[in-house]
């Protein structure tokens, strides 16, 4: 508890009193210095770290993609061998799915959700910090494996029996199974705290139907993570047991079933796509609303569509397995379910078109990325409907057509909106505007580059080029397109590089952003840019969906103490104030716990008994983390009628 910082405050100080600002600064301080860095628990620091780290992994994943393209630039290229190619192919997919997309979206949520709902921190700040360290450790470990030549080489889906110990001896796949299980801990902790923060900490008056659409999208994403990610954890644990203890889950000769792996993996893997796309849809709605200066048309329809996408995405994993010989009735069901997801997606797109219709659109860089999203995502969606049809899938399966489709969906559906969000919220995060000129160059290079890279891949697939191959023969008719695609990939990479340069130089070159440079309507723009550690000087009371566009000033919450970390708890549906919660202070324990859990996981790969050691060490860290700090909060109200002003 933060009581430790102010052990014997005789007179309580409230945040609406004069001079409370400097006390708030001190109360919510993140300790300075290198060692202090490991104690930070404030949502702003943790969210920012998630976003920056995920962008570094995005750059690394992109570099691996360029290496792959260099290998495929001409037939029978000898730049790299099959083994190394398979390692970087696996690492590219694993990085982009597990180490970029999910943490990036969660990081954005961690940074923005408390600001958007008008609170001062996430529900479980220490858990938040723990999740970040787990993510960082998992990423560093996997990349160390790559540099040591021990990276996994079976694709980001790790199909058995290829991923079994007979066909993939050594530690490569073990690194994959262990680190995937490990990093999912990070994703799950973030999901739970996002859910609780959104449901219990919304500013008074922010009923569910006044909640910003981006917050809705993060809520849906978080629930999807809670139900999808445990399945891949179970799958990877079973695979790890098969490899380490010779259990027989996926071994046909021992009564196991390789197809079980595909069921477990894709039951997670398909929702995973929407776990990434749903928050991106939230970004799209937010940016469109701001740059049209009007509320999104059909708020309820947009929200219900996101919820529907969340539900339906769990019912179509088998469309990844059409060619595995499953019963026809089952295949038909999954075709219908796959096509059905186009309905809520379409509803959203029509709502956005209706919002854009007749408004005076400001084509700033974030809006350009959103326009790019429309074009690219719709093409990806259309080829998705094609691939959901069994006869077509039988032909196109495991060809470059599918590579083209999935990149259209993922880059169009997640990366472009994420970059729109980056340009949109960067002024809030740093206090500086990103350069418009560099932003426009970046967008056009990415947009042209990605279309020139991936559109021809449809043709490559229709011409019969299989995916996941490290080279191909002469005279297959694929040379010219592959050469062209590789050149275009570099063009796209240059576009991304411009954005990275932009983010690095803008704080020094660009103008100060001010608190609300886009004249947006959601609460994060009410805070200073960048926000203080406590987000808001006063917690707001909400009475509309667009609090910053309403003419009347915002009312505020009074009676929150400035001398300890207090936040308001509100009811689930109506956001009526229920109580005040005291938040934990900075500490090393989350970092220590991440180390002990990491020790257990990594130790398992080399000596399974070390997992047991890590397991028990973790309990010491948890007890240290939860150890109640004296003085404890007083229980009985003092005579003056203020129940909590004094401390025991």
């Amino acid at each position: 508890m933060s009581l430790k910082n102010h052990p014997h405050t005789e007179q309580a100080i409230f945040d609406d009193q004069e001079g409370a600002e400097s006390i708030l600064d001190k109360t919510w301080l993140s300790p300075p210095g290198f060692l202090g860095w490991f104690t930070h628990v404030n949502q702003r620091q943790i969210g920012f770290r998630f976003v920056v780290t995920s962008l570094i992994f995005f750059a690394l994943g992109g570099l691996l993609a360029l290496l792959m393209r260099l290998q495929l630039v001409q037939p029978e290229n000898t730049l790299m061998g099959a083994e190394f190619y398979h390692q970087i192919m696996t690492m590219h997919g694993t990085t982009m799915m597990f180490f970029f997309a999910v943490p990036a979206m969660e990081g954005l949520g961690i940074y923005l959700v408390p600001l958007m709902i008008g609170t001062r921190d996430m529900s479980f700040p220490r858990l938040n910090a723990f999740g970040y360290y787990v993510y960082l450790l998992a990423g560093i470990t996997l990349y160390l494996a790559l540099f040591l030549g021990m990276a996994p080489n079976t694709g980001w889906f790790s199909y058995v029996p290829l991923a079994g110990i007979d066909y993939s001896p050594g530690q490569g796949v073990s690194f994959w199974t262990t680190m995937i299980t490990f990093i999912e801990i990070s994703a799950l902790t973030a999901a739970v705290e996002l859910i609780v923060t959104i449901l219990k900490q919304r500013a008074p008056g922010m009923t569910l139907n006044r909640m910003p659409i981006f917050v809705w999208s993060i809520l849906v994403m978080s629930f999807m993570i809670v139900f999808a990610m445990p399945t891949v954890m179970v799958g990877s644990v079973l695979l790890a047991l098969d490899r380490t203890f010779a259990t027989q889950f996926f071994v046909a000769s021992g009564g196991g079933d390789p197809l079980l792996w595909q069921h477990l993996f894709w039951f997670f893997g398909h929702p995973e796509v929407y776990i990434i796309v749903v928050p991106a849809l939230g970004i799209v709605s937010t940016v469109i609303s701001t740059f049209c200066q009007r509320e999104v048309f059909g708020y309820t329809a947009v929200v219900l569509s996101m919820v529907t996408i969340g539900f339906v995405s769990f019912g179509l994993w088998v469309h990844h397995m059409f060619t595995t010989g499953l019963p026809h009735l089952g295949l038909s069901f999954f075709t219908a379910a796959s096509a059905m997801i186009a309905i809520p997606s379409g509803v959203q797109i029509f709502c956005w078109i209706a919002t854009l219709w007749g408004s005076k659109i400001q084509f700033k860089t974030p809006m350009l990325f959103i326009m790019g999203f429309f074009a690219v995502f719709v093409i990806g969606g259309l080829t998705g409907v094609m691939a959901a049809s069994i006869p077509f899938d039988m032909q196109a399966h495991d060809s470059y057509f599918v590579v083209a489709h999935l990149h259209y969906v993922l880059i169009g559906g997640a990366v472009l909106p994420f970059f729109a969000g980056l340009y949109y919220w960067y002024p809030k995060m740093t206090g500086a505007m990103l350069s418009e000129r560099l932003g426009r160059w970046s967008f056009w290079l990415i947009f042209v580059g990605l279309n020139l890279t991936f559109f021809p891949m449809h043709q490559l697939g229709l011409d019969g080029m299989p995916r996941r191959v490290y080279t191909y023969l002469h005279n297959m008719g694929w040379e010219e397109i592959n050469f062209f695609v590789t050149c275009a990939a570099f063009l796209m990479a240059f576009g991304f590089l411009l954005t990275f340069i932009n983010t690095l130089i803008s704080p020094y070159k660009s103008r100060a952003a001010g608190s609300n440079p886009w004249h947006a309507d959601t609460l994060e723009w009410w805070a200073q840019s960048p926000p203080r550690n406590y987000n808001f000087r006063h917690l707001p009371v909400i009475s509309s969906r667009t609090p910053l566009w309403q003419k009347a000033p915002l009312y505020k919450v009074t009676g929150i103490r400035a001398d300890r970390r207090e936040i308001i708890i509100t009811t689930l549906l109506d956001a009526k104030p229920q109580g005040v919660c005291i938040m934990p202070s900075p500490t090393y324990w989350p970092f220590v716990l991440a180390l002990t859990v990491g020790f257990g996981f990594l130790g398992f790969m080399f000596k399974p008994i070390l997992f047991v050691v890590g397991f028990f060490l973790s309990f010491f860290a948890i007890v240290g983390w939860l150890w109640p700090a004296r003085p404890w909060l007083a229980e009985k109200p003092p005579e003056d009628g203020h129940p909590v002003r004094g401390l025991q």
């Binding site: 609780v196 139900f227 445990p230 010779a246 969906r545 229920q578 129940p643």
Partner: protein
């Protein structure tokens, strides 16, 4: 002005609001529900995995292997469920500010869990099949081991709660730690039921 555009017409003063959040108004209560949902997904994935593999085999268990005996596991299941009662009584003691009762009931629950663990350990010795002989054995060992680890976690966590209780931390107003620990304890106890059914009854069908 539309319904969504109504404005609040006053500041809200929360200085007299409770700082002791003990039930559904405490974020940690919802956090534990989140943890339980995650674990439920894991339990479901294991159960579905068992049923999927069960359906792939005309003979289950294979090669005339006998299903594990029922008598002792049934008693350990009952013991596990009984420990929920002592945990409930521990919570009641906190509500009455009876710290001694709280400590006694908490450690009684931990001892019952240790007893369950000891019984389970004996069962591991008596399984007719190793984990690497056939997928049936893999399921038996993995699911039993998975739940075994969870009882260990719940026991250690509850022992820590008992320790905090001994230094006098828990009282009627300050009891959220006990509430959420009991929720998790109950979950661990009841999560055994689907496993008990598939591991001990399905091989007999």
């Amino acid at each position: 002005m539309s319904r969504n555009q109504q404005t609040a017409n006053a500041d809200i003063d929360v200085s007299n609001f409770s700082r002791h959040l003990n039930g559904q108004n405490a974020p940690i209560w919802w956090g534990i529900i989140g943890l339980i949902l995650i674990e439920l997904s894991v339990v479901s994935a294991f159960t579905v995995t068992y049923l999927y593999l069960y359906m792939q085999h005309p003979q289950w268990p294979p090669n005339d292997i006998a299903p594990p005996p029922l008598f002792i596991p049934t008693w350990s299941t009952i013991l596990m469920l009984l420990s929920c009662v002592t945990m409930y009584l521990a919570g009641k003691s906190v509500e009455k500010n009876k710290s001694k009762g709280f400590v006694v009931y908490t450690f009684a629950s931990v001892i019952m869990a240790l007893l369950v663990l000891w019984i389970r350990w004996q069962q591991f010795d008596n399984f007719d099949m190793r984990w690497d002989q056939h997928v049936y054995g893999s399921l038996l060992w993995t699911i039993s081991g998975f739940h075994f680890i969870h009882i260990v976690s719940a026991a250690i966590g509850t022992a820590a709660i008992g320790l905090f209780g001994m230094v006098g931390f828990y009282t009627k107003q300050r009891q959220i730690g006990v509430v959420v620990d009991t929720m998790y304890w109950n979950f661990v106890a009841f999560a055994w039921l689907p496993f008990y059914l598939v591991l001990y009854y399905f091989p007999r069908l």
